[in-house]
Symmetry: C2
Subunit: 191 residues, 2 copies
Amino acid sequence: MKSEILKYLSKYTVITKELEIAISESTLFKSFKKGSILLKEGGISNECYFILKGAIRTYFLKDGDEKTMEFYTEEQPVVPANYGTSKPSEYYIECLEDTIVSVGNPQLEKETFQKYPQLESLSRLIAETIIIKQQESFTQFKTSTPEERYLNILKTRPNLLQIAPQHQLASYLGIKPESLSRIRKRLMDRK
Amino acid sequence: MKSEILKYLSKYTVITKELEIAISESTLFKSFKKGSILLKEGGISNECYFILKGAIRTYFLKDGDEKTMEFYTEEQPVVPANYGTSKPSEYYIECLEDTIVSVGNPQLEKETFQKYPQLESLSRLIAETIIIKQQESFTQFKTSTPEERYLNILKTRPNLLQIAPQHQLASYLGIKPESLSRIRKRLMDRK
DNA sequence: GTGATTACTTAACCAAAGTCAATGCAATTG
DNA sequence: CAATTGCATTGACTTTGGTTAAGTAATCAC
């Protein structure tokens, strides 16, 4: 289990014995059934997650529809926007499948960073990398049509099509379910 | 000049005497004329910036058009995606006005973090905050129409209309210049 | 298993953005 | 000062997504 976390971290740094210990000391697991809500809109969050198995979706309600913000799958961190603050959440966090996560909290984080400062450096590095990746996604989204976005998902995260229903995908692509249906049809016909 | 940086940091932490010293030790200024290119597509970057005065735009070329990724104004950090790596940049960084920046580089950063570890904690905190803000912008973009996006800019960053020509704004909003022109007309007519 | 709910598709119609081309306007340049 | 260039606007036309509504398929609950 822990090995998933180390595998993830190894993309950013060399895994030392000390790091292994640090991780094993600060790791707590939880598992959730498909459909579990980890955080509700308006709720307060004291936890962040790292997905070991399963999938998570964040969404909120607008104009009576669910708007899917992001899908998270194995080896991805999920940190609520209000994590560590006392502000109510703007969105829901939900398990799309039976899911096992490693759980963090601000206390534990603080202690761990104090004990293993390299872990904080690593966190900074990861955060900066995430910023860059987000920028790329945003730019990609802005400069492409819904059809291109759908094709992009097909190519880069085909598993999403298995785990998420189309109307969730649609809102993730910034369109209505009917439009996604049409786009799929257009693509079929064109073949 | 340095006070702008401290003002920015004070949003995230308490400014101690030590922090002030750390900043003054690690601060180098540069100024650029309007239109200066700080980084070209394909170029390597060893610098990151903090804008003290002026404005910066990042963009790249696609389908023969400039696609504006972001506008940065006073008190904002600008970090090229390839900063500190040897990968060529995917985009241009350009000054929209005469601009004065504080400049950082990986060496300096490393030394400073070593000497003042609290600065690295602060960087992590800031990076995490930026991630959250980016997520919010992305979500806002996805769930709104071009017209709503334009109105949002009008409300949240009205100064952009002064410093950037409309075709740059249009690509920033993910639409064609003609469409932005029509949106503006529609809004005028409606009043 | 059956009925009810939810998800997906299809169609007709509308509104808005894309495309292409032309025009006007202002700033810049030779 | 005339010519050029770049930008914004406008118009005609096309394409595509949103909206509404209906029908079909799939899933869930009892």
